[in-house]
Every structure is written in C-alpha cells, then in structure tokens.
C-alpha cells in the first residue's frame, strides 16, 4: 500500500484523502469481539461476546457492558483499555452536565461529547486514535436511542447495529430480523440469535454479556441466570 508512506503521522492526509491511522484503528475494531445493539419500541438491548484468551481467566470479573448513567449504557468492540478511558470521560461529563443543569443528560448530548473527544485524538499531536467503536444505548425524555461512535469521531444513530469481528454478517442478519414495532423482549431474543450466528462454539450465560434499558429509565446488565433463561427461550 502506497498509503503506508503516509501513515507515520496521524495528522497527515494520504493522497486519497484518508487519515491512515484512523483506518488502522478501524482494523483494530474489526478484530475485536462482536458487539451489537437493537432498539425496540420500549427499550434497547446491548450484547457482546466475552471472548477470553484462556479458560483459566475469571470471566465474571470482565465488564464489557457498562453503565454511563442510570439510564445510559454502552458496549464496545476493540481495545478494552481504550474503552475504559472513554467510559470514564463519559461518566464525568454526564455528572458535570447534571451539576450545571440539574437535569439528566440527553443521550444525544452525551454521544456528541464522547465523539468530540474521539475526534480530538485524531487531530492532536503525540496521541493516537482510540481503538474502539462504541455502541451507546440510552432511554431519555425523547425515547429510546442507540448510537454508534467510531474512532474517527463520527457518530450515527441506529435502529440496530453490530460492530467488531462479525459485523457484516451480524448486520445482514439484523436487517432481516428487525422490525420497527419490536418490543424489548423480542429484541433480546433477536440479539441472542445474532450473537449465536457468529459465535465459535457454544453460547452460554458465562461467555456473553447482555445489557438493557427500558422505559423504566434504568440501565442494567442481565445476570447470568437471566441470560440463561433467555437463551433457553431462544433454543
């Protein structure tokens, strides 16, 4: 790739108009474990594979699906440590917002801010882009939202999306299964089916994570027991 001549510095455009570091960051995301999100009428579900390098690892301590505020959560694909940095910034920003306006931050405002941070890291000296794409799900005054944020800082609202290794097949699968009047329960089933599609091996309640937020405005991770129940419904 002649492009690689232009990849030494983040702030240099290649002749084709790309910032090569961002392309590479997207590669890092595409190598990560699949994560997906589905927006239903009355809530949103996030799900991810917990792909561990070794069976000796204690998977119960891994937290890929995390809450940002009481009613907003996120999942990532790509480099875990990078996602933690963004999670911390997102949480802090949400609290500063409350400090100023005494109102919960709207999901779109939070996403805009996170995306803005990610963009800064594509235009500053001495830093590299974040090697993660995020799926942010939240239920606020305007209803349910699902946003994807990429290493470049672009963000998109989705009805359903998949990121990471199996994103192409995942999105095709979701396109077929998605309907605008899905209820949250249907969405959870569809999410599990989509994960199963691309999963190497057997899906159990210990090697995936699922998070939901519904019109009760409370984001929560499903416990392994709850995940097991949903999985059995989906068999």
């Amino acid at each position: 790739m002649g492009e690689s001549d232009y990849s030494f510095s983040l702030t240099t455009f290649s002749p084709s108009g790309k910032l090569v570091q961002i392309e590479y960051a997207l590669n890092a995301v595409a190598a990560g474990a699949t994560s997906l999100g589905i927006k239903a009428k009355n809530g949103i579900v996030l799900a991810t594979e917990k792909r561990l390098p070794s069976p000796l690892m204690d998977e119960s301590t891994i937290d890929k699906v995390t809450s940002i505020t009481g009613n907003i959560g996120m999942v990532y694909a790509g480099m875990g440590p990078d996602s933690r940095v963004l999670l911390k910034k997102a949480r802090n920003y949400a609290q500063s917002y409350y400090r100023v306006y005494k109102e919960s931050i709207p999901v779109s405002q939070l996403v805009r801010q996170v995306a803005s941070v990610m963009q800064e890291f594509t235009q500053s000296g001495g830093v590299r882009p974040f090697g993660v794409s995020l799926l942010v799900a939240g239920f606020d005054e305007e209803g349910p939202h699902l946003y994807q944020v990429d290493p470049s800082g672009s963000y998109f609202a989705w009805k359903a999306s998949a990121i990471g290794k199996n994103m192409v097949n995942g999105k095709t699968f979701l396109e077929k299964r998605y309907s605008d009047d899905m209820e949250l329960e249907d969405a959870i089933h569809t999410a599990l089916l989509t994960i199963k599609e691309g999963f190497e091996g057997q899906v159990t309640e210990n090697n995936i994570e699922v998070g939901i937020v519904s019109d009760d405005l409370k984001f929560k991770k499903l416990t392994p027991a709850e995940v097991k129940d949903y999985l059995s419904e989906v068999e």
């Binding site: 400090r99 100023v100 306006y101 005494k102 109102e103 709207p106 405002q109 805009r112």
Partner: protein, 271 residues
C-alpha cells in the same frame, strides 16, 4: 439568600457615610469608603496605611450599587417577575428607564438588581449560554436547568462576584409556577415569592404575609389569581417607591403563563 452580609449593598458607594462593613477575608473590602483608610491595615493591593502613618492611596473600587428592586411571585400556573427601572448613583439618578429584566425563554424570566454593569454582563453571558443550549438541544432550557445554571455561573465568580441580586421566575416542565431567589454568589432557593434589591426589606414581608400567608392564623390559604397578583405587585412597588429613594420612575411587569410572556409597564413617582 442574604447570608453573606458583606455583600449587602452598603450605601457608602459614593458620598454617603459608610455603614460598618466587615472586611472580607480575601483582602478586598466592599463598600470601603474611598480615601478613608481601612480599619485593618495591609490587606491586599492598593490598600495601605492606617490613619496614623504616611500617604493614603486611593484604591480602585470595583463595585457600585445602582439600586433598584426586583421581585418574582409565582402562582399555580403562572409567574410574575417585576422590577423598577430607576438607575441610581448616590443621590443622583443617571437614568429613569433601564431594564433589569432578561427574558430567557418563553417560560423563564430573570430580573437582577445591584450593579448595572455586572447585571448587563451577566445577562449577556446568560444569553450566549441560552443560545448554545438551544443549538445543542434543539429546545429551550427548562426553569430548573436555568436556575441551576445561573447558580453555577455566579459561583464560578466566587472570589470576585457579580454584584447582582437576582430573582428568577417562570413555569416548570409540569406547568407549575415557581420563583427562585439568589445571593451574589449563587446560593438559591425555590420559593413562591421573593424580592431583592434596595426595596427588599420593605416588600419581602408583605409578600410573605399576602402570598404565603405567614404570620396569619386562621385565615384560609388561597391561591391568588394572576390579576390579584399583579395588583399586589403594583401596590408593593408604589409603597416601596415612597420610602426607598432608589426605587421609582417606572415598573416593568412580566407575566409568564403557558401562552408566553406578556410585558406591561406603569409609572411610579419621579421623586
């Protein structure tokens, strides 16, 4: 609201004998009579000697009290924010008609008394923040959000305050009318009726008695209508105008209902 007594307007700003004003620990002394040496020597830049020692140095006094009274009275589903329009300075009247009111949104109105310069800057800054909020959120700021933001903005100037005494009034997301009273550094409280400024001590007791039915035993608490509230406010200003030299000329009254903000004006005595 008035917890920090040192920020109470002291009539000493230009020419009148200074009431005793306790010195702020940080080194600047509000209401320090220009030219007279402060009681505690060696407090910050420009403040020099005690009466017994050498040359006196004139400090730059950053604050001025331009007087005026503002109030906000909330009803069940409306709020009325009013202020007089006199700009005072010592025993003079530089202007009979200045506006102390900022219409923040169709549902929220702010009125500020104190120092005109700080009031104008505060209002300008607020206006900028309101536009930014509108652009980001695609909707106007709610009363709760505006009240918290104002408090925040005032506190960011904790060590060189805006010399403004604010009242905020409006209708919240549920359609109820509420008012907020502030001190100069952002301490605020949600209430039904509050007033601030040079006429505060004259009008607040009346509002407490007539709106909140305080110090009345046995009288049934009734919700006042918008018209009754406006009548009460007119009387309050007329009375305050009689006794407070800084209150007078005109009164601007903003009536906030679910249909928006309506402004009316009436004249007080020019003396």
């Amino acid at each position: 609201m008035d917890a920090l007594g040192l920020l109470r307007p002291a009539a000493s700003v230009s020419g009148l004998p200074a009431a005793h004003v306790p010195h702020a620990a940080s080194g600047f002394a509000l209401g320090d009579h220009a030219g007279r040496a402060p009681a505690a020597p060696a407090e910050g830049p420009g403040v020099v000697a005690s009466a017994s020692s050498g040359p006196l140095q004139r400090r730059f006094e950053p604050y001025q009290n331009n007087g005026g009274t503002v109030l906000a009275v909330a009803g069940k589903d409306f709020c009325v924010v009013a202020s007089d329009t006199r700009l005072g300075l010592g025993y003079s009247i530089p202007s009979r008609k200045v506006s102390r009111i900022l219409k923040m949104t169709d549902k929220v109105v702010l009125a500020s008394s104190g120092m005109q310069a700080d009031m104008m800057t505060l209002h300008k800054t607020l206006r900028m923040r309101l536009v930014k909020y509108q652009q980001n959120h695609q909707k106007d700021m709610s009363l709760t959000a505006a009240s918290q933001m104002l408090s925040n903005m005032l506190y960011t100037r904790r060590f060189f305050p805006y010399y403004t005494f604010n009242v905020l009034g409006g209708i919240d997301e549920k359609g109820e009318g509420w008012a907020y009273g502030y001190d100069a550094i952002g301490s605020h409280e949600k209430v039904s009726a509050v007033c601030s400024g040079t006429g505060q001590t004259l009008i607040q007791p009346v509002l407490d008695n007539q709106i909140e039915f305080k110090q009345q035993w046995g009288a049934p608490k009734v919700d006042l209508s918008l018209e009754a509230t406006v009548e009460l406010i007119r009387d309050a200003f007329t009375s305050a105008g009689e006794r407070d030299i800084y209150t007078g000329d005109y009164v601007e009254i903003c009536k906030i209902t679910k249909d928006g903000v309506e402004v009316e004006e009436f004249q007080l005595k020019f003396d």
